[in-house]
């Protein structure tokens, strides 16, 4: 097991080491499976977190994705980058997980989001957790298109084909996602400003972003 610990580090893995890990996984050796899982955990979780509605679902989807990886390793073409292959599996598993929700489109969501397009993007510095929380608050249909287009770089045509929706629906969902995300960032910024001013005048210092998230959580509950 000791010789495997080196793979669990997040440092880039050499091709030879990767091939050794994959060979062990093809033999269904649990030690090698764990090592591969650990090595690509952060990368895979990063993808699944963006597509999921919360961390629990992200973990579930990621494990489903890894199960596909472990049971389909014989289909992996060694000449192509493993990370890209794994990433596509995570994306496909995420999409399949939420497939039944992907056609959802609510007009009232759009209406609520309107009015923020004219705002400039504030110069906020939000943490990774804050941004993930904002993405989680998007409806699955918007979230998926946002991820595929803005992060993965798919075209609307490709998204339409992948999700079984029209190009128009893909565009519409993307704009709605964009407006809602922008609204969240603007509100977080305004809230941070208010907290900053109130901190400046009196009272102890507080973590403005953390308060912003409290605000979101309450709104989500409502």
């Amino acid at each position: 097991m000791n010789e495997l610990t080196q793979y669990t580090l997040s440092a880039p893995m050499g091709e030879e080491e990767l091939q050794e890990l994959l060979a062990g996984c093809r033999e269904n050796d649990r030690k090698y499976q764990k090592a591969l899982y650990k090595s690509f955990y952060s990368f895979s979780m990063g993808i699944c977190l963006r597509y999921a509605g919360n961390r629990y679902e992200a973990a579930e989807v990621m494990n489903q994705g890894f199960l596909k990886v472990f049971t389909n390793l014989d289909k992996y073409d060694d000449k192509k980058p493993f990370k890209a292959w794994l990433g596509r599996i995570m994306i496909n598993t995420s999409i399949n997980y939420y497939r039944s929700n992907l056609k959802m489109a609510k007009m009232d969501d759009l209406e609520k989001a309107e009015g923020f397009c004219h705002h400039d993007m504030p110069d906020s510095k939000l943490s990774y957790d804050d941004l993930i929380a904002m993405v989680h608050r998007l409806p699955p249909a918007y979230r998926t298109v946002f991820n595929l287009y803005a992060i993965e770089g798919y075209s609307h045509e490709e998204i339409g084909k992948l999700l079984g929706i029209s190009d128009g629906t893909s565009k519409s969902n993307l704009f709605k996602a964009r407006d809602k995300l922008k609204k969240m960032v603007v509100e977080a910024d305004q809230m941070a400003d208010r907290m900053h001013n109130s901190d400046y005048n009196s009272g102890p210092a507080v973590n403005a972003v953390r308060l912003n998230m409290d605000f979101f959580n309450k709104e989500a509950v409502r």
Binding site: M45, Y76, R88, M121, L126, I132, L162, G164, R178
Partner: protein
């Protein structure tokens, strides 16, 4: 080209969301290990579920059959013989409930119930379903030329528990109920014979039923990647004779299934190549079909006692494929799945054989509770993929006897 504002928001999130470190969680690995350990059992669980539901359906059928086949008849014969040998006066001394039972066993009988026998259990076993009340100091019997009149005759001196008993069973069991006014005597029974005759003649009955049914759908074999679907709909049935009836209706069914593309033959030639080009033929297809199912069945009643009946039915269904949605996936999970959807393209007239057994329990004279295990086996190939899509399920429903008012 993207709008600047679009880039602004997306760039902001892209920068913040990519490259972050997600800390490894031992809990998630534990869940992963369970998934890896449980993988072979997972496939079996669907078959296990299917077997369980088939077992429940079979047990239900056996229990129902056992109920009907349980030896009630010898007891009645015994009672009937003893009572027949007695004279009517003797019977009069008892709180007498007499009836003629359908079938070969009794043509004419007077039966004396003891207090103990006047229970709902004895009623259930004896299976009255046509009732004549004769109060007012008389007893009597109805001679049935066709062996098919059920009559219940009461001694005037019936105690109130006995009356309660009769009142309680009559609405449950009466297809025919002739009441004689309290002052009429045994002659009135004779007068009522014509009434009885008229009502014993066959009149077609109509019933409307509403069903919901979960079922399992599979290609070639029901357990083959069996997926749970749902059905609901209305059925209209008409009785042709005492035993035979026909039924038809309209059911909306959602039939999901999963199969290897080896079992899937697109009805358009060369479709694989046109659709997938260089990617090659996909390996699996997950389908979700919305179907309008129009069945035409003939049913034969095996048993009917008291408020319970059991029938078997068979016939043909026409499938109108309202919407067919297919997700094609490849063995290599990194190749994106592809969706294909068509609406109202395929119809299969009388293309599916129906087999079913129906247990009906009358809740009252008009409403019945139905439990119907069924099988649907296609004789033509179903849908765009021309698959042998089989379904098995258990429908539950309510039936409403449309002309029950007329019989009274």
């Amino acid at each position: 080209m993207k709008e600047p504002a679009e880039n602004e928001v997306f760039d902001f999130f892209r920068a913040g969301l990519t490259g972050a470190e997600n800390k490894f969680s031992d809990d998630n690995w534990d869940a992963m290990e369970q998934l890896l350990d449980g993988q072979p059992r997972k496939k079996g669980s669907i078959i296990w579920l299917y077997r369980l539901s088939a077992g429940i359906a079979a047990t239900l059928l056996l229990a129902t059959a056992f109920y009907f086949l349980s030896p009630v008849t010898p007891d009645i014969n015994k009672i009937a013989k003893s009572v027949n040998s007695e004279n009517t006066n003797k019977v009069m001394k008892t709180e007498a409930v007499a009836f003629v039972r359908q079938g070969k066993v009794l043509k004419r009988a007077l039966l004396a119930f003891t207090t103990k026998q006047r229970t709902k259990k004895s009623h259930g076993g004896l299976g009255l379903n046509k009732v004549i009340r004769i109060p007012a100091e008389s007893i009597g019997y109805v001679n049935s030329p066709k062996n098919d009149i059920y009559a219940l005759m009461l001694n005037p001196a019936l105690s109130s528990p006995a009356k309660t008993f009769v009142d309680s069973i009559s609405p449950l069991s009466a297809d025919v109920l002739v009441e004689v006014s309290p002052k009429e005597g045994i002659d009135s029974v004779a007068r009522n014979k014509k009434v009885v005759k008229r009502i014993q003649g066959f009149a077609p009955k109509f019933a409307l039923s509403v069903f919901v049914a979960p079922d399992i759908n599979g290609v070639n074999k029901i357990a083959n990647g069996g997926k749970t679907g749902s059905n609901f709909g209305l059925q209209f049935s008409m009785q042709l004779s005492r035993k035979l009836s026909i039924s038809s209706g309209a059911f909306y069914a959602v039939k999901p299934y999963q199969t290897n593309t080896g079992n899937y033959t697109p009805s358009t030639q060369g479709w694989w190549k046109t659709k997938f080009g260089t990617t090659g033929k996909p390996d699996n297809v997950a389908a979700n079909c919305e179907v309008l199912d129009i069945p035409l069945n003939i049913n034969y009643q095996l048993f009917r006692k008291a408020g319970n009946s059991l029938s078997v039915g068979s016939g043909l269904s026409s499938y109108f494929m309202l919407r067919e949605t297919y997700h094609f996936t490849f063995d290599d999970p990194s190749v994106n799945p592809t969706k294909f959807e068509i609406n109202n393209r395929n119809q299969h007239l009388l293309g599916v054989v129906n087999l079913n057994a129906t247990y009906e329990r009358k809740v009252n004279s008009r409403i019945g509770l139905l439990i119907q295990p069924y099988l649907k086996l296609p004789v033509s190939k179903i849908g765009f993929g021309q698959v042998d899509l089989q379904s098995a399920g258990v429908a539950v429903g309510l039936s409403w006897d449309i002309n029950s008012f007329r019989i009274k």
